[in-house]
């Protein structure tokens, strides 16, 4: 690990200012991803600004019936929160399917959103990787492809975003609140992460120095029943090959509202808007679900080593929607 200075700011605004003034500084919260990346020398900050105690670790009711989650709320506390379990079951399930008990106790809500890809080439400084070393090439195109993206990837990068929580937040239309030197702004979770294009080194739209302070969930109307299904190589403590977060509201046999987001398939949590549009007002049947899932995946551009993810994502989407249909009866 490279040497670094450790600093604690007095409040959020001085932390944001301090980071903006240090070109090689990084925010530290739970550290479960950052400390590992520093040990691997994938991340080499010269200054760490510890923000864990500066940002809220509370979950509060919003006047509209939604919830505001402080960015420092640990993943385990968020998953166990009674309001989250009752009103946003897919969010609790997504959190519980990620990492391990020890990691969830430390990893924060803001940090979970900003964790880096687990692409083995990104994490290995001896191999080319455009995300880690722009212009060096993408080793995955000729290498290990099982965990790589099938949607929205580019010739420069086929990495996937590893978060489960972010997939549920994307489906729920959550938004993050962000503090920068110019004040606060609000970004929908679906617009927070980027597709790689030819600048895969940038995971998100956040400007340098911007700090996520919280996540806001809209009221849960039409979002129940909901669930999160994760498909992976072992039953626990593994990243998703494919995951599906979905909510389905059916009235008189017709889809009134549907939300679908996919994990493990793209550089960002993938909101399945094509499938959602196909389903709005359609009969709530297995046939509709299959057609909608196929439409969503029509744009897939798999690699030889991960073509299996296309039918896996399609079948998992259909299966989850059928379960939700049954649950809503």
């Amino acid at each position: 690990m490279k040497p670094f200075r450790y600093e604690r700011a007095d409040d959020v605004s001085s932390a944001v200012t301090a980071l903006a003034e240090e070109p090689e500084a990084a925010f530290l919260a739970g550290g479960t991803n950052l400390v590992d990346l520093m040990r691997l020398e994938v991340a080499t900050p010269e200054v760490l600004i510890d923000v864990r105690r500066l940002i809220s670790d509370r979950i509060e009711e919003l006047p509209d019936g939604g919830l505001r989650i402080g960015a420092a709320v640990p993943n385990s506390d968020l998953a166990a929160d009674d309001r989250v379990r009752r009103r946003y079951p897919m969010l609790s399930q997504a959190l519980l399917s990620g990492a391990s008990g020890q990691l969830r106790n430390v990893a924060t809500t803001g940090g979970n959103l900003l964790q880096r890809t687990r692409c083995p080439y990104f994490q290995n400084v001896t191999t080319p990787c455009n995300k880690r070393a722009p212009g060096s090439g993408c080793s995955a195109l000729e290498g290990h492809q099982r965990d790589m993206a099938i949607l929205g990837s580019s010739p420069a990068c086929v990495a996937t975003h590893p978060s489960d929580m972010a997939v549920a937040l994307a489906a729920l239309d959550a938004a993050v609140t962000v503090r920068g030197t110019d004040g606060e702004r609000r970004i929908p979770v679906t617009a927070l992460h980027r597709l790689p294009g030819d600048t895969p080194e940038r995971d998100t739209v956040l400007a340098r120095g911007e700090l996520i302070t919280g996540v806001e969930l809209p009221p849960p109307a039409h979002l129940i029943p909901s669930r999160y299904r994760k498909v992976r190589d072992r039953a626990s403590f593994a990243f998703a090959l494919v995951s599906v977060a979905a909510a389905l509201d059916v009235a008189d046999g017709t889809v009134r509202e549907v939300r679908i987001a996919l994990g493990g398939v793209a550089h960002k949590p993938w909101r399945a808007t094509t499938a959602e549009s196909a389903l709005h007002g359609a009969p709530a049947t297995g046939e509709s679900f299959r057609d909608a899932a196929a439409a969503e995946l029509a744009r897939a551009t798999p690699l030889p080593g991960n073509a299996f993810k296309v039918p896996l994502a399609r079948n998992t989407m259909v299966s989850v929607l059928l379960e939700l249909l049954e649950e809503g009866r």
């Binding site: 690990m1 040497p3 670094f4 200075r5 450790y6 530290l28 550290g31 479960t32 400390v35 590992d36 040990r39 760490l48 510890d50 864990r52 385990s76 998953a79 166990a80 009674d82 379990r85 009752r86 079951p89 609790s92 399930q93 519980l96 399917s97 990492a99 391990s100 008990g101 020890q102 990691l103 106790n105 430390v106 039953a235 626990s236 403590f237």
Partner: protein, 171 residues
């Protein structure tokens, strides 16, 4: 860069100067001589370094000591009574069930189980909980395996680790 910190480890206060790069795991093992937490992968993937930090189970290898100024840390050594003979119920149960072979992962397994039992007591759900809304957690073997999935055992003593934890959970 050196920084002075204080840590409370197994009930004893320590003041020490550490490089900012030092993890809690290395501070405990190399600076304070507490080799109860083990270094397995050093990447947060194996659980051998599991500690209770301010009462919650967490990984010593991913925790920077400098970010844990004043923290209250419990290791597997500190779970036993200080008077010499009194092992923690989980420690006794691991021995009774022969829940290890080489023993390298055992301190992490036991500290993790201790934290996990408190989480279940608090009503926290898991990924395999049948009713995610239920506040009473029934720790059957599937629940124990899921909640302990962050602790790997390369000898694969799982078949005895699960019953060792179950016996304490069901007391």
């Amino acid at each position: 860069m050196d920084v002075e910190i204080t840590l409370r480890v197994d009930g004893t206060e320590h003041r020490l100067t550490v490089d900012t790069r030092t993890t809690l795991l290395d501070a405990l093992r190399d600076r304070l001589g507490n080799t109860s937490p083990k270094k397995g992968c050093d990447h947060g993937q194996c659980g051998a370094c599991t500690l209770l930090i301010d009462g919650r189970r967490a990984l010593g290898c991913l925790a920077l000591a400098v970010a844990h100024q004043g923290a209250d840390i419990v290791t597997a050594a500190g779970l036993a009574d200080g008077d010499g003979g009194g092992l923690h119920p989980l420690q006794r149960s691991f021995i009774a069930h022969d829940a290890f072979q080489c023993g390298y992962c055992t301190p992490g397994q036991i500290v993790s189980a201790c934290g996990m039992l408190a989480e279940a007591e608090a009503g926290w759900p898991s990924a395999v909980s049948k009713d995610p809304g239920a506040t009473d957690v029934v720790l059957d073997d599937e629940e124990i395996a899921e909640r302990m999935s962050g602790n790997l055992c390369r000898c694969a003593a799982y078949a005895n680790i699960v019953p060792a934890i179950a016996e304490v959970a069901h007391r």
